[in-house]
């Protein structure tokens, strides 16, 4: 996982100031492709779709580079494009009824070979996660994807750190009560 350094940020800004879009874009892809994909995945709940959307996001970024004027930081700008792209995709999916972005996707995703839980068969996350309210689920997924960094989750979702902590607490509390209920049911 790559960490976005202040030096990279300055280098991107310097490239953009000189209208060197290609090197700026290369740096952006290097620093943000993983983060953008994880943010998209936390919103969409499907890896293949997240990767497609990540590609769309970077094409948008490429096209919009000359429009970036530094009113916000590079990361804020990129995350806002990512969230908008994902939300547009969700709306389109809702309108088309082509895909449902709730339980079936998350279940299918977790069951796919590429993403099978490793050694965690005692907890059936694919059946538990869809029962967690969406905003809490996004936070809990992103928190574990971003190496448990409250700050990174807050930046990516544009939420205050306190809200991230609250949502995470509620997500884990909901998961725990579902898990304990499930185990009690299994033992009965």
């Amino acid at each position: 996982m790559t960490n976005f350094q202040a030096g990279d940020h300055q280098e991107i800004r310097a490239c953009l100031d000189q209208k060197l879009y290609a090197p700026a874009f290369d740096l952006i892809v290097k620093n943000f492709s993983g983060k953008v994909m994880r943010l998209a995945y936390s919103i969409l709940g499907n890896r293949a779709l997240a990767e497609d959307l990540t590609q769309d996001v970077f094409v948008r970024i490429w096209r919009a580079l000359p429009a970036y004027r530094g009113l916000s930081s590079v990361s804020t700008w990129i995350y806002s494009i990512t969230r908008n792209t994902c939300l547009t995709a969700l709306k389109r999916a809702g309108a088309d009824k082509a895909i449902s972005l709730d339980e079936p996707l998350i279940r299918a995703e977790a069951e796919s070979a590429a993403f099978l839980p490793r050694g965690s068969s005692v907890i059936d996350l694919p059946s538990l996660l869809p029962k967690v309210p969406e905003k809490y689920r996004q936070v809990v997924m992103l928190f574990y994807m971003e190496e448990k960094s409250y700050e990174e989750v807050a930046r990516q979702l544009d939420l205050p750190i306190g809200t991230v902590k609250t949502y995470l607490y509620r997500a884990r509390k909901t998961l725990m009560s579902l898990l304990l209920q499930e185990r009690k049911g299994g033992n009965a």
């Binding site: 996982m1 879009y21 874009f25 892809v29 492709s33 993983g34 994909m37 994880r38 995945y41 890896r47 990767e51 990540t54 590609q55 970077f58 094409v59 948008r60 490429w62 096209r63 919009a64 580079l65 000359p66 429009a67 970036y68 004027r69 009113l71 700008w77 806002s80 494009i81 908008n84 977790a110 993403f115 839980p117 490793r118 050694g119 965690s120 005692v122 907890i123 996350l125 809990v140 997924m141 574990y144 994807m145 190496e147 902590k165 607490y169 884990r172 509390k173 998961l175 725990m176 898990l179 304990l180 185990r183």
Partner: protein
């Protein structure tokens, strides 16, 4: 303190102050039910870490992206709309300022105050509205493009 309260503290364990952490640790040595809750919470933590850590785009993603951004299709070319908007904005401001100067210079007599207000105020209001609209379009272009 009840076990339910300790369960809530366990959910927040990483962010607890040292004193509360010690209280939770002590309670865990004495309460089997809370110990079981803590073990389950640890299992959940491990499962979530295993499920979600290390997600990266595939190799294919980078090659596809490279192909798209290096293609000559107009869709992939960097947009020059902001430059165009800058030009229109600057030209508009110069035009409005020229109009104001043209109306104001030479400085009129005090008796001409009312007609001057009648001209300058609408022009200034127009300038402000134009500025707001221009800024709106620029912000829209930056954040939504």
């Amino acid at each position: 303190m009840s076990c339910a309260s300790f369960e809530e503290l366990l959910l927040d364990y990483a962010d607890l102050p040292a004193q509360e952490r010690d209280a939770v640790d002590l309670h865990l040595t004495q309460c089997a039910s809370c110990r079981q809750y803590s073990d389950t919470l640890s299992q959940l933590d491990v499962a979530l870490t295993e499920q979600f850590s290390g997600l990266q785009p595939s190799e294919l993603f980078h090659s596809r992206l490279h192909a798209i951004t290096t293609s000559r299709s107009p869709l992939s070319a960097p947009s020059f709309l902001p430059e165009l908007l800058d030009l229109i904005g600057v030209a508009g401001i110069v035009l409005v300022l020229s109009l104001i100067l043209w109306k104001v210079v030479p400085i009129p007599e005090i008796t001409d105050f009312v007609p001057i207000v009648g001209i300058v105020l609408p022009v200034c209001a127009g300038l402000v509205l134009f500025g707001i609209a221009w800024l709106g379009v620029r912000v829209y272009a930056e954040f939504k493009s």
